[in-house]
């Protein structure tokens, strides 16, 4: 590889790395962003390993013990967060429910990033009709309240994990495409990109070596915000009964069930409400911190 290009790539790599390394002034780990990331990772791990450590079965119904308030003890069983209208342990359902939120959030955002990013890069690299079509679709989709379409699709096709994820990916690929396209166009104007072209590089190698490193950082920031949006979207749809099948506990469905019991059993709704709120908040705080370091402009999108 010619020295100029090697330097170009080294420069890019170190630029990204140096952007993520924390300020030397404050301790790296005591800032809000990393703390939130840590908490999220902890919550996710606890959720995914729920089967290993949560005492109660989330689906076990004990109608005698229904609507018990938090910190009730029934015989040997500890109902930390109380029980719901069917006698199920709220705490256990909460932890298990986290699985869906985190899984859908992470998978959807990652798929959306890959697909959206690829389409954005295609639009920027080829220009021409590819760009025209892709950008048009992005425009139309962005303006439209996709939640409505998502509701319609899921209601017609039926609920299920794959349906939800597919629908959400179709909804959320657009910000990635737009960002990738915009950033790629900037790279194409730069000196070392033009140098690479003039030395005969083209196609996949060119894109992956020169364009992708410049785009990745901002994509990560948007990825974080999209995870937040996905968690909100998934819980909204579960609230409406359109999420995954009702046998699996999800925060949204718990909220919807709890809505009717706010008078006498507030805990059924309040705990999942806090769960959703705190999770999304942590994701947003982390995303904010990340964007301050990598690309403050993305906050405006």
């Amino acid at each position: 590889m010619q020295p100029k290009l090697a330097i170009g790539n080294l420069f890019l790599g170190s630029k990204i790395a140096s952007k993520i390394t924390p300020n030397s002034k404050k301790s790296a780990f005591l800032q809000a962003g990393p703390i939130c990331l840590f908490l999220l990772a902890l919550a996710a791990i606890l959720s995914f390993t729920a089967n290993l450590w949560v005492a109660q079965d989330p689906g076990y119904q004990d109608l005698i013990s229904r609507l018990k308030p938090p910190f009730t003890k029934v015989g040997e069983l500890n109902y930390y967060f109380g029980t719901d209208q069917l006698g199920r342990d709220v705490f256990s359902r909460l932890i298990h429910g986290g699985k869906i939120s985190f899984a859908v959030g992470l998978i959807t955002a990652t798929l959306a990033m890959i697909i959206g990013g690829a389409l954005g890069l295609i639009a920027a690299y080829f220009r021409g009709w590819q760009e025209a079509v892709i950008l048009r679709v992005v425009d139309i989709q962005t303006a439209f309240p996709f939640l409505i379409v998502a509701i319609a699709i899921v209601s017609i096709v039926g609920s299920g994990l794959t349906t939800i994820i597919t629908t959400l990916v179709i909804w959320l690929w657009t910000p990635f495409a737009r960002l990738a396209h915009a950033k790629a166009l900037i790279v194409k104007e730069s000196e070392f990109y033009k140098a690479a072209i003039s030395s005969g590089r083209s196609g996949f190698g060119l894109v992956s070596q020169h364009i992708v490193p410049n785009v990745v950082g901002s994509m990560m920031v948007v990825w974080t915000f999209i995870v937040a949006q996905t968690i909100i979207a998934e819980s909204s749809m579960s609230y409406l009964g359109l999420g995954v099948p009702l046998s699996t506990p999800t925060w949204g469905s718990m909220l919807s069930e709890g809505r009717n019991y706010l008078e006498n059993a507030w805990w059924i709704a309040v705990f999942p409400a806090f769960a959703i709120m705190l999770t999304v908040f942590c994701v947003n705080v982390f995303g904010d911190w990340l964007s301050d370091r990598i690309d403050p402009q993305t906050k405006k999108i």
């Binding site: 439209f144 379409v149 937040a228 947003n284």
Partner: protein
């Protein structure tokens, strides 16, 4: 001007046809609608006659063409649940949704503008930073979660406000607060960011040198200048806003299009669903058009280019 109208019209047509087609094929693909209407204990003859009355026994192409034709005349058939024409039902519920959305939007702007300016001007003080933290929190709580908390506090504990439907005048308060919260938070942060950028501009210095008060510079000049980028962002937000309205209507049983559509979903009432989606698509495109025209009015530079 004509170009903008034309472009929006094209967008409207594309959106409507696209979504309509999507729904058309999804409905046919995911199972027999006649079965859904007839119920599980219907005889074969019942099903067949229902199928015939819905026109489902003709070829797909024929059905699609009929569908497009009906689209042009706004004929969405009869709602399965109400046994009345679907589109008029939707249109009857539309004013309630517009009322809710409008109030929520005004609330969001009314709070975000002073809050954003305050956060910008007092950015180094504790209260300025507190505003920013609050808005970060606000942006993280989905509207239906806020709704639940509001109901808990104001309906259940304090018994001040009704939590269902639109019976009383006070009913509008909680749904609109829930709906506006996310937007309010987002705009507070954006206004602060744009405001800070504008503070460095030349005309601010000119205003000071002319002895104008800070209030005049901020609220007349800077606000006018930031309303241009804000407007374009508002346009993008409209879509999400409408989605939020649907969920809030579900939480509060607010009698608007959203509630109607949620019930249609649960009852597999496809005509009503399609009519609702169509109505919302048209509404959003029209709102975007209004935003475009406002843009034209507010920024004289764009007006000059257009003329």
């Amino acid at each position: 001007m004509i170009r903008i109208l034309g472009s929006r019209l094209l967008q409207l047509i594309l959106v409507v046809i696209g979504i309509g087609t999507l729904l058309f094929f999804l409905v046919r693909v995911s199972g027999d609608p006649a079965l859904a209407i007839a119920g599980s204990d219907a005889t074969a003859e019942n099903i067949a006659s229902i199928r015939q009355s819905l026109g489902l026994d003709r070829s797909i192409l024929e059905q699609y063409l009929t569908f497009l034709q009906n689209l042009c005349t706004l004929n969405f058939g009869e709602s399965y649940t109400y046994l009345l024409p679907a589109m008029p039902l939707i249109l009857a519920a539309l004013p309630n949704t517009l009322y809710l959305s409008f109030v929520a939007f005004l609330l969001a702007i009314a709070i975000a503008v002073p809050a954003g300016i305050y956060a910008a001007v007092k950015r180094n003080s504790f209260s300025g930073k507190a505003v920013m933290s609050f808005s970060m929190l606000g942006q993280s709580i989905p509207p239906f979660v806020i709704g639940i908390f509001l109901i808990l506090v104001f309906s259940v504990w304090l018994r001040w406000l009704p939590s269902f439907g639109n019976e009383a005048g006070l009913s509008i308060i909680m749904p609109s607060v829930a709906l506006s919260a996310v937007l309010m938070a987002r705009y507070t942060r954006l206004i602060r960011a744009y405001f800070l950028e504008e503070l460095n501009r030349g005309y601010v210095r000119t205003g000071k040198s002319l002895g104008f008060t800070n209030a005049r510079i901020w609220f007349k000049h800077i606000l006018r200048n930031i309303s241009v980028p804000m407007l374009s962002l508002i346009g993008i937000d409209l879509g999400k806003f409408v989605g939020g309205a649907v969920i809030v209507e579900a939480v509060f049983a607010w009698p608007g299009i959203g509630s109607l559509m949620i019930n249609a979903v649960k009852a597999r009432d496809y005509p009503l669903l399609e009519a609702g989606v169509f109505a919302i698509a048209v509404m959003v495109v029209l709102l975007n058009l209004i935003v475009d025209l406002l843009y034209l009015y507010i920024d004289p530079r764009i007006r000059a280019k257009v003329n």
